[in-house]
Amino acid sequence: MSTTPVMSLKPRGIKWDRVALYAVLLLLAFMFLMPIYVMLINSIKPLAEIRGGNLVSFPLEPTLEPWLQAWSLAQIGVEATGLKPYFANSFLMVIPAVLISTALGALNGYVLTQFKVKGGTLIFGLVLFSVFIPFQIVLIPMARLLGELGIAGSVKGLILVHTIYGIGFGTLFFRNFYAAFPQELVKSARMDGAGFFVLFWRLMLPASLPIVVVNIIWQFTNIWNDFLFGASFSDYTSYPLTVALNNLVSSSTGVKEYNVHFAGAFIAALPTLVVYIVSGKYFVRGLMAGSVKG
């Protein structure tokens, strides 16, 4: 077996190449981390320190007051409830939407790759295109539809919206995965008598567990982070967290409580950040699923 060394900047003599490499990487890492570092330390500074001092300095008198404010005391909607209720709204919205769109996506991907469906390629093309559309184009009719269904301005409405628009992504993820699924296994299962649902439930779905995870992570992140649909289809009782945060931050009246803004932004960012850190390579796989195969 031939050992094939991977390409690398081979240092010859002094390792200045490597030193420069690490220096550049560290500089870039610093630049990437800086905003979140700034957000974090300024979220625990009293307001006077922020106004008086510079953005990168350590807090002299750290306080959790801004976090408390952001979480439960700030005025966002009609009452001063902080971000807490909106945090809950986001969860209530995200979980059903992710689960349903994942389930439908898996079934769709399965059908599109394992069965002859009339116009299967066209359907695939239309689904693929649908994930790229600017959602501005559906805002007006969707608002109308939600109104007709009586769920305008509610969390239920948001669930419906995110489920529908999540189907496209899910279908694509699973379709790509099932397309590469070894056909011998499928044929062998069919010869053993596996029918439509058995084939899906007992063979393909279990094999695609990593993709299920990827899809859930990707959908969770996207739906949690959405703003446009939230801003368009919710009212003050049903704002998702992103909309609430934006309201908190963009209020033009009164004193700008930067530390509360930062704390709020952090609260909004935490769930997806945690998912990101915990899921590591699954997150990356989710990103890659959208790319062209070479």
Binding site: V6, L139, F262, Y276, L287
Partner: protein
């Protein structure tokens, strides 16, 4: 399969939902752009062309111009930075996953969070400018975010920060897919490191270039959340993009038909970039269908 109709049946809920809520709605909005809708949708056709009005509006012209500036800078810088990061990370460095995670984490954040963070970072009164002045550079100026001419560039900065990690991931996958023996052959043939990247590696990264372009371009056209959080569209209308225009004209300025028209224009813009990619995928799908 005994049940010929079962697969189609399983697909049908999704087909119906996507059919109506994507393509049906597109048609609806398209129709609306020819009506006289103002506050609410109405079916009566307009007497004058909303598109003519659209293209005559300074606000729209400004939005499109901003989009042009923004997308070119955003796409080019993100691709270059992303590719550069990928090449660095590909050098078999220690703590590779740590660095990768650091460059990629902004993708996990909402644009609202990114906008909020950068908004204050770039604000002259408490952000970068002030910090530099406090350190000692008393005449340091960095008030782009408040400057009508320069504000759009702040959007570029925040957007590049958010997504270059993603481009890095794409290019890294592309780099790792290159056959190691070809690189060995290049070394034996006498190519030095940079020559190898230039002549052998980068030419093979075509698919990564294409993917990142398609995705970055469509994200640029759809950019809305970031602008709202970072600048609110301002100062004034200095950072308006077509997405902001659409929202404003539809929901705030009660010119729904014009808003609809702008949405259609956005769709066409995306379609131009995305349709070739979709068609290619559809062609390749022939090999996938049983």
């Amino acid at each position: 399969m005994k049940n010929r109709w079962l697969p189609a049946l399983v697909l049908s809920p999704s087909i119906i939902m996507v059919g109506i809520c994507v393509y049906g709605f597109i048609a609806f909005t398209f129709y609306l752009s020819f009506t006289a809708s103002t506050i609410l949708p109405t079916m009566t056709l307009a007497t004058e062309s909303n598109y003519e009005r659209l293209f005559s509006l300074r606000n729209f012209f400004l939005s499109v111009k901003n989009l042009g500036v923004f997308s070119v800078l955003y796409i080019v810088i993100s691709m270059l930075l992303g590719m550069f990061l990928a090449i660095l990370i590909d050098q078999r460095i220690r703590a590779e996953s740590l660095f990768r995670s650091i460059f990629l984490y902004p993708m996990a954040l909402s644009f609202i969070v990114t906008g909020t963070a950068w908004k204050w970072l770039l604000d002259p009164s408490i952000g970068f400018e002030r910090t530099m002045r406090l350190i000692g550079f008393e005449n340091f100026v960095f008030d782009w975010i408040k400057d009508g001419e320069m504000a759009i560039y702040t959007v570029v900065i925040a957007a590049v920060w958010q997504t270059s990690g993603f481009v890095m991931a794409l290019f890294l996958a592309g780099l790792r897919g290159i056959d190691g023996e070809v690189l060995n052959a290049a070394r034996v043939d006498g190519a030095k490191n940079w020559r190898i990247y230039w002549r052998v590696i980068i030419p093979q990264l075509g698919p990564s270039f294409i993917s990142s372009f398609v995705i970055l371009a469509h994200m640029a056209i759809k950019s809305y959340d970031l602008v709202i959080a970072l600048t609110g569209g301002g100062p004034g209308r200095a950072t308006w993009l077509p997405s902001v225009f659409m929202y404003q004209y539809t929901f705030t300025r009660n010119e729904m038909a014009v808003g609809a028209a702008s949405a259609v224009v956005m769709l066409i813009g995306i379609a131009i970039v995305v349709i070739p990619y979709v068609r290619r995928e559809m062609r390749l799908n022939k090999g996938v269908q049983p």
